[in-house]
Amino acid sequence: MRTFILIAFRNILRNKYRSAITISAIAFGLFALIFLKGFIDGADYQMINNYTDLLIGHIQIHAKGFQKSIGLEKTIAGANNLIEKISKNRKIIAHSKRIKDFALISSPENSYGVLLLGIDPEEEKKVSSFHKRIRKGFYLNPQDKNKIIIGKDLAENLKVALEDKVVIMSQAADGSLATAAFEVCGIIDTGAEEIDKNLAVITLSDAQELLTLEDKVSEIVLKISSLKEVDKLTLTLRGQLDTNLFEVLNWKDISPMTYQWLKFDQIFTSLILFIFLIVVASGILNTILMAVLERTREFGIMLALGTKKNQIMFMVAAESFILALTAALIGSIAAILTVNYFGQRGIDLSKFSKALDSFYIGSVIYTRLEWGGFFISLIVVFLTSIVTSLLPAYKAANLKPIEAIRHI
């Protein structure tokens, strides 16, 4: 077999141009596959991260039934005790208490229904990126009294600017009419219409005071060390807490549509990658088939001299193996370097930023190398190269020597 490997190796060197084309085709195919996967993984990761970072968080704990019917009837008392109990889990890296209620916001010009959020400004910074989305004015301070942050579109609709006054009206927990005036201290622009149009944020203490909630909160938002741990930790917390009193929901439970969209995106991506793989495979098949046809006469001579079919097949497959191995090495190194480069620098797609922002992806995509996907792409392209070479190898091995020798 050594001689056949030697012949295979020398054949590769003999036709440097053809070999270079084959190696380039396989390497580029692999590179493109890994890069495309890295781009999509990066976009998906950003989407989940931005989506969860913006407001939702990774996991939320509410009083049972809160998610179905948001209101002040279902609140958590003694939130700090509960946090102390669960924060022993090292996977939880931050938490934030919130009040969440529907309210009416009014300016001298207009009134709109909004989702009123009461936050602890310091805690909130650790679980969400909300504070980074302030486009005008300032983020809240824990000491702030009657200051409010509203969405960009809401500000436009209300026709208010920074330092203008708006009035919040709702029903307090004790059934009384809750109303107070707030000064606009910040305007947020998230790119997500439902937030920019419908969100108003005040401090937790203002919200508790306004809605007569004392130290009660609506939800505890958790940020955990890795998105991959979400499902496992949700189950752990459900086991830890009394599920008759509390509900533990992760981002997939809170926003099943987004999760389904991501699932669909993954299937769609797999389909595209599969089609791409077929294109790459036909390119490989074509080059190797051409290389075999070019040497029909040589195979004929070898067969005439008594070379066995399996030896010819082995030789052609060995040639493909060497080509595929070289290409896999080049393609994967190039892909790792490129994906890491754009993972640091990002790919600026600001021309489409509006559309991407509304999908929570962001205008700069940071490619992401998932080693599982990388190895699958590597193995699939490598095996495809070998498998597609078996057809030409089989053809070569089954040539009739007498006809092959006459082949010019």
């Binding site: 001689t3 030697l6 012949i7 020398r10 054949n11 003999r14 006469r297 040589e298 001579i301 070898m302 067969l303 005439a304 001299l305 008594g306 070379t307 066995k308 030896q311 020597p401 007498i402 020798i405």
Partner: protein, 225 residues
């Protein structure tokens, strides 16, 4: 008993999707003894190459019988054909047909490698035979670094090195100048006499015919003398 016994051998070629048939060999009867140096002569289309291909187990006859060293080629499978060629036949083709990726020494070793002869033995044999054909100083040359005559000498060395029963040479001098051609025929004759290997040459070349111990003339697929 003759080494090669051919009885009523007929070969008819049929074109695909056509009723047209060409009779390449017509009821050939022939016996060739071990150690003969035989030339098969005849004009183009007379059936020389077809006869050589059938003797060389590269093609099946349409009818008739061919027995070589007690092997009945008419009833062999393709796999058995390959084994038979490997161990009994040496080929020298008109266009040398060396393996371009192997050196002269590796080409001369190639058939022995297929025969699973150990490396040391096959290397010694290949070096010896290449020396005998005057290529001792070109062992590591690739075919494209050799002249036509040198390439044909490597082809002869490749054919003779494993010491087959029969060496079949199809127009071995056709692509060579007369001087190189004569030198190669003399070389083959010398190897034939020294090693008692049976040589059968298909040729147009009067010089080859003159050097042959036995001359078989073919015309329209029949032996005429």
């Amino acid at each position: 008993m003759a080494l090669i016994q051919i009885k009523n051998l007929t070969k008819i070629y049929s074109e695909k999707n056509s009723t047209v048939q060409t009779k390449a060999l017509d009821s050939i009867n022939l016996e060739i003894e071990r150690g003969e140096f035989t030339a098969i002569a005849g004009p183009s289309g007379s059936g020389k190459t077809t006869l050589l291909n059938i003797i060389g187990a590269l093609d099946y006859p349409t009818s008739g019988q061919i027995i070589i060293d007690n092997y009945n080629l008419s009833s062999m499978t393709q796999k058995a054909f390959a084994e038979f060629r490997l161990h009994k036949i040496g080929f020298v083709f008109q266009s040398y047909n060396l393996i371009n990726t192997l050196t002269a020494l590796e080409n001369a070793e190639y058939v022995m490698l297929l025969q699973a002869i150990n490396k040391r033995e096959r290397r010694l044999k290949a070096e010896k035979i290449l020396s005998e054909v005057g290529l001792a100083n070109k062992l590591s040359h690739f075919p494209n670094q050799l002249s036509s005559g040198e390439q044909q000498r490597v082809a002869i060395a490749r054919a003779i090195a494993p010491m087959p029963l029969i060496i079949l040479a199809d127009e071995p001098t056709a692509n060579l100048d007369s001087q190189t051609g004569a030198m190669l025929i003399n070389l083959m004759k010398e190897l034939n006499e020294k090693k008692q290997v049976t040589f059968i040459l298909a040729t147009h070349d009067p010089m080859v015919m003159a050097k042959a111990k036995r001359l078989i003339n073919l015309k329209d697929g029949r032996i005429i003398s």
